[in-house]
Symmetry: C2
Subunit: 360 residues, 2 copies
């Protein structure tokens, strides 16, 4: 039994409290400055307003003012902020941690650099403090399902296999299945890009709806059947884009030096499978597919955190730089580059199907 | 413009008439002895009773008695029978074909041999007549969507790349996108196994429904939302099984000597994506997941062709033989072996989650 402190009280940060609690650990859930109302709600009523679940009394909910004591006593700190919160976490939390603390990151994303380098968050955080241990979580996990103790299979990755296995032993349960690996690039590039490509697959949903005359923001459902709204399903284009997404994720992982087998594993194919069924990225891709320009979609989805936009923009730019340096060719990432032009040049959706597929 | 004769007037054989017709070819659709009523219907009313579509007048529908003339005049013959029809096709159609005829096979499956060898159908057919050319089709393609001219991306494979490209040039359209490859094993092992693993993913749907008290054959829908029937979706276990399926397909392709990259491409991840959304295999896996033993499920689904059962049985047996010979280990195929025990030993569904995932 350990003290485990989670920083970030959003849905993922809160969802993972369940297996940690079930392992008998003492859990502190510390909200960031953005989570003040979430923490207030949990403190007062135990109800988490976005997870829509009662949080057990054993979870100690704390505001950010109490973070110092919460991390001082915790040999394991979970980073549960969104990808946009990583600079904040790096600046405000990392320096507070005791030497030897293990940081378990459930945040997905890649940092990019002017030379085209893409760096998984665990490597970035590791570069800040070499006296800490970093383990990152990737794979298909809808947070409220984990909280409800549904069977969930994920990868835990880190540079140090012993540490990864140590955290696996501390977090695994009968329903939470953890596969350890040292391939941080394979896992993290995959889970970051699945957000990007979930938009890609969803374009096909919007395109199908457009054929039925739906071109506005009506009838956006959160967890909807993949297919046309008249229940006459249109799966072939979705499946084509799903495959194309896995193909491009495989190429990206290989380009970055990871094990491309993850493309057909939990972080890519598996994680993309859950991500296309609903949520923010699905809504984004659907609206774009219906024919709304991104400038319009942004207004409809205002206030919604769109990690997909950030990762597409960042990785497309890195790929362009790498292509200029001769490290790859743009033809290997036609869907990514097109998504970038939709988002950053307000281009209409116009899938170049003949540019997709494998090259032999 | 060529004469193209299709043998087998089921949904796939009929679905592919559209792109062939759109290429200006003269199309003959010859029903097998099992398709007599389908052909009668098309001849009389142009309505295809299972595809539920009007078949254009340009498609000449023929009964099996007219097959000799139909294949004699056709430099391209499409094999559109089910996997159970392959021995019939080998015995009755292959000997009739002119030397130099190209056979385009849309039938998915693998032959197995007592020594554990698994052989894709195109290689099997090739072994019967070396004076013919064989090209096989694999990838996510729901037949009525292809018939409706939805964007569809598939692989065409064959030993001879020139022939593959020749057929691609003759069959491709603005909506039917064909990726040529000589990796017959990668494509065919993938598309055969996706039927097997679609049952595996569907187990999670049934297990979720079982938790809601549904344990009988009620409410089986053909194209249903993956998730629990109360619309409280349960995706994590499905996604885990989806990833595990891709992982095992990757291992099988590698074991058979194909390019394992197809696991994250059209034939595996892509084709599995469409196959889990509905149809026979989905119903099979769902009922098993609800807790019905296979002997019961067989009665409920009586009359339904279950290619998944055949391929699981055949490949599990081959893997066991290969394991005995030291060519692989059973631990690499835990889901396949469990599915086999469900079907062939009437075992209850009992997923050994800790046996899944990657091994590092």
């Amino acid at each position: 039994m350990s003290n485990v402190t989670i920083i970030g009280a959003g849905m993922m940060g809160t969802g993972i409290t369940r297996p940690i609690l079930d392992n008998g650990h003492r859990v502190r859930l510390v909200g960031t400055h953005l989570d003040r109302e979430l923490i207030d709600s949990v403190k007062m009523t135990r109800l988490h307003p976005t997870l829509h679940r009662q949080i057990p009394e054993e979870v100690q909910a704390l505001q950010i003012e109490d973070v110092d004591a919460a991390v001082a006593e915790a040999p394991i700190v979970v980073c549960g902020v969104s990808s946009f919160g990583i600079p904040w976490f790096a600046e405000n939390i990392i320096p507070k941690l005791n030497p030897g603390t293990t940081v378990v990151s459930i945040t997905k994303g890649l940092n990019s650099y002017p030379d085209g380098r893409l760096e998984p968050f665990p490597y970035y955080l590791e570069s800040l403090r070499s006296d800490l241990n970093f383990v990152a979580v990737g794979g298909p996990c809808i947070c409220f399902e984990l909280f409800d103790r549904r069977h969930t299979m994920v990868c835990y990755c880190g540079s140090n296999m012993d540490k990864v296995k140590e955290i696996k032993a501390q977090f695994e349960t009968g329903y939470y299945h953890i596969y350890p690996t040292t391939d941080v690039i394979g896992v993290e590039a995959g889970v970051a890009m699945k957000n990007a490509y979930a938009m890609g697959v969803s374009l096909a949903v919007g395109l199908a709806e457009r054929e039925k005359g739906i071109t506005d923001a009506s009838h956006i459902t959160d967890n909807c059947v993949p297919g046309a709204p008249d229940l006459n399903p249109i799966y072939n284009p979705q499946a084509a884009l799903f495959a194309q997404s896995c193909i491009e994720m495989r190429r990206l992982i290989e380009l970055l030096g990871g094990n491309k087998d993850f493309a057909s594993g939990l972080p890519c194919a598996g994680d993309l499978y859950v991500t296309v069924f609903g949520g923010r990225t699905r809504r984004l891709g659907t609206l774009l597919g219906r024919g709304m320009p991104y400038t319009e979609v942004k207004k409809v989805l205002s206030g919604v955190t769109l990690e997909a936009v950030a990762i597409i923009t960042r990785v497309a730019e890195a790929v362009r730089i790498k292509a200029k340096k001769g490290e790859t060719e743009l033809k290997y990432f036609p869907l990514l580059i097109h998504m970038d032009s939709i988002l950053n040049q307000d281009q209409p959706v116009n899938l170049d199907w003949k540019a997709f597929g494998e090259f032999y």
